[in-house]
């Protein structure tokens, strides 16, 4: 399923926004709930928020791009969050990022063409004792090694036709 073909459920957006008064201070909470539902912020969501809070769309857009929690593009079915906090960094998180790029061809912020995998880096998961840590959707994988990451990708259905070269 390509990103363009996604149907955005506008009724769902309205349903989420009905939980909040149409005030500026709730814009972030509205965006968080929409992102929670859709895993990204569809344009329709930003437009509806702007009209609800009675602010220009540009203002909602500026918030959506300022705060790291938000994404304007759909994430993959499996979203890898590679922790790049200091503890993970000095224990080789960059190796994990390189390995994912090598095997799936995606860099942080990107999604594979088939919509299966995406990768992002996060600053710190607070799981420093488990460094380097990687989160696949909600699951935390502790102490991932450069060879272990290949097994993780495989366990989510990736690298199906990969050969051990």
């Amino acid at each position: 399923m390509s990103a363009n073909a996604r149907q955005v459920d506008v009724e769902k957006i309205v349903e989420i926004l009905d939980n909040y008064p149409g005030e500026k201070r709730y814009i972030m909470a509205m965006m968080q709930d929409i992102q929670g539902e859709f895993k990204y912020l569809p344009r329709e969501g930003l437009e509806t928020i702007a009209s609800r809070a009675d602010v220009p769309l540009s203002r909602v857009y500026s918030m959506a791009t300022f705060y790291k929690a938000f994404s304007l593009v759909p994430k993959g079915r499996i979203n890898f969050k590679v922790c790049d906090g200091t503890a993970c960094h000095i224990k080789g998180s960059n190796v994990l990022i390189d390995q994912i790029y090598k095997h799936l061809g995606i860099k942080p912020g990107e999604t594979t063409a088939d919509g299966e995998f995406s990768i992002e880096t996060v600053n710190c998961l607070g799981a420093c004792a488990l460094a380097p840590a990687l989160v696949a959707n909600e699951k935390v994988h502790p102490k991932v090694t450069s060879s272990g990451i290949i097994e993780i990708i495989k366990s989510y259905g990736g690298l199906a036709d990969a050969t051990d070269d």
């Binding site: 909470a29 705060y67 600053n123 607070g126 420093c128 090694t145 051990d164």
Partner: protein, 601 residues
């Protein structure tokens, strides 16, 4: 400790902090519940999940009270044995106890373990002991007693005086005296007034605030209520970092429970105090840890800081007097009120009273949260509590203060840690991250890492921070890639000093610290990159070549087995060889080798 439990019953506490959860503690808890419901046990049993015990390295942790047994790295398959032996017959399962690496002896209670012995718990006093979702658990351990005391016995001025006398300084990193801040706000004329808890813990490698919010949410709430009484505030906000979903959940439960008991809302406990708290989830912006940026974010704006010619105590949230304190600061307040300022001030150093929670992480044996009196030396923290460096490698530096802090070398390990000594050493306390680095950490690359982090987090409002970080990043990248020149060092020094002088907020003013401290203490490593074209730590890929020392290699094959590119070959029991064409310089072989046979050229 649990007064409600008689000797014929057992309380089983399963740690469900982030570290233990990732290691499967929830599965252990569920298995325990399920098996206890179907097994006939002699004694009455109670089970509860707790917040983070801090000793994440050994999780999942299971504690059994009142016997005071701590089992480490418990797996689901161990549950039936725990029930059959420890709960039924009181037999201790030796293999689940912690084994002291020095004495090789098994240790029954975590209280007897070096990691905990030197700690002094104030802010973390309840964590690991109580169920965060239970207000009764908190009350049982003197919870809300301080609130009752101020409402019935103390005037707002007396509360402020007590906090001033305690010498408490802001634990978020600034170290500003908390009582004086409260006094400034109480003296302001405008109203309404607001109380904010800064839970936007952004320093990578620090997770003490998260643990407090997750493991003991009521202490934060109680601290805020006390402040609301002292300064006359009507509303409070807890701003929680976006990634901390469990903290949001536990805080929300706690706020609801406090409300239903009349601790929050109109006329608290029949007094004139009306105060309520709302949770605001952050959007994942490091700069929002800066108080004026955080306030802008609560108001529904992008989180850009403003110049503080007027402090938030006078003009804060919605232009009204506002107190904003860090999570750990709030956790200290009920203790100060209950025990008195004098008792609190008896711990710590001349200028820094009380304790500090550190998240001790990186290349150290016992990673986790530690709370020690101010003035404890770095050596005690890293070697006595932390158990030294992993794999017996060589200590190189400890980084404190997050991206705004600096790297401290081994010559300064006897530094007594408090707000002032760390600043003098060119670093800072920050929120309390202590990241231990060994000879496999490249100090140039670590400076690049922090600068890159800050360049991504700079809000871009002022030029010195925005452009300075960009220039520093480009220069450090060049050095890491082997394109460095000696002139670069003076150039970075110059930029760093400009940023310190001319940036708008503390983020920019301190952003160059990682560069300045590494230039100061680890100049040789910069010069090795620039003049010799090599990275002594074996991190910067373009400047690294690994080789196997044939003298030391035993041919065990562990390196070749773990090499992700099959780049190591050799016969069994014969020295192995790295194929430089295939090698991606990930360093996995170095980490795996037990004989220290893989060297950096």
């Amino acid at each position: 400790m649990q007064q409600t439990i008689d000797l014929d019953s057992r309380m089983i506490l399963v740690c469900c902090g982030t570290g233990c959860l990732a290691n499967g503690s929830m599965e252990v808890y569920q298995a325990l519940r399920q098996q206890l419901s179907t097994t006939e046990v002699q004694v009455k049993t109670y089970t509860k999940t707790t917040g983070c015990n801090g000793w994440c390295e050994k999780g999942p942790l299971v504690k059994i009270m009142p016997d005071d047994i701590t089992y480490c790295q418990v797996k689901v398959k161990d549950v039936s044995e725990i029930i059959a032996k420890t709960l039924q017959t009181g037999e201790i399962i030796n293999r689940l106890l912690y084994r002291d690496p020095k004495t090789k002896k098994r240790i029954k209670s975590h209280h007897e373990i070096e990691f905990y012995k030197k700690q002094h718990k104030i802010a973390l006093r309840n964590i690991g002991e109580i169920d965060p979702a239970s207000i009764e658990d908190y009350i049982e351990r003197d919870g809300y007693k301080a609130m009752g005391k101020i409402l019935s016995e103390m005037t707002p001025t007396q509360v402020i005086e007590e906090v001033i006398k305690s010498g408490l300084r802001g634990r978020g990193g600034g170290g500003f005296p908390t009582g004086l801040k409260w006094k400034a706000c109480a003296d302001a004329t405008a109203s309404p007034r607001y109380v904010i808890c800064n839970g936007d813990e952004g320093d990578p490698g620090a997770f003490m605030d998260r643990s407090i919010m997750e493991g003991d949410p009521h202490t934060v709430i109680e601290g805020m209520i006390i402040c609301a009484y002292a300064i006359g505030a009507s509303a409070g906000y807890i701003y929680v970092r976006d990634e901390y979903s469990l903290a949001v959940k536990n805080l929300a439960i706690a706020i609801n429970n406090a409300r239903s008991r009349g601790y929050l809302g109109q006329g608290i406990l029949g007094s004139a105090l009306s105060f309520d708290i709302e949770i605001v989830r952050g959007g994942g912006a490091f700069v929002c840890g800066e108080e004026t940026a955080l306030i802008a974010s609560i108001e529904g704006n992008v989180g850009e800081p403003r110049d503080k010619y007027v402090f938030p105590t006078e003009k804060g949230l919605w232009g009204k007097p506002t107190i904003i304190n860090n999570v750990e600061t709030w956790a200290n307040i009920p203790v100060i009120i209950n025990g008195g300022a004098q008792e609190f001030a008896a711990v710590g150093t001349e200028g820094s009273k009380g304790t500090k929670v550190f998240s001790l992480v990186g290349k150290v044996n016992n990673t986790g949260l530690v709370e020690v009196p101010m003035g404890t030396t770095l050596r005690e923290i890293i070697y006595d509590i932390g158990g030294g460096i992993q794999g017996g490698r060589k200590f190189k530096a400890v980084q404190t203060g997050g991206p705004s802090g600096g790297c401290i070398p081994d010559t300064m390990l006897d530094l007594q840690v408090d707000f002032d000594t760390l600043t003098r050493a060119g670093s800072m306390m920050g929120s309390g991250g202590l990241i231990v680095m060994d000879d496999r950490t490249c100090m140039v690359e670590i400076a690049r890492y922090y600068v890159n982090f800050l360049a991504g987090e700079s809000c871009g409002k002022c030029t010195p921070c925005r452009e300075g970080l960009k220039a520093l990043r480009e220069t450090l990248e060049a050095i890491c890639e082997g394109k460095g020149k000696v002139e670069h060092l003076a150039f970075m020094q110059d930029i760093a000093e400009t940023m310190q002088t001319a940036s708008l907020c503390a983020l920019g003013r301190t952003a160059a610290n990682p560069v300045l401290s590494t230039l100061n203490y680890f100049r040789d490593e910069y010069l090795a990159h620039i003049n010799e074209g090599r990275c002594p730590a074996g991190v910067c890929r373009d400047l690294t070549e690994f080789y196997i020392d044939a003298e030391l290699c035993t041919g065990c094959g562990l390196c070749s087995k773990n090499c992700p590119v099959d780049g190591i070959s050799g016969e069994k029991k014969e020295p192995h060889v790295i194929d430089q064409e295939k090698c991606i310089r990930c360093g996995e072989c170095v980490n795996q080798c037990k004989f220290n046979a893989i060297k950096v050229r």
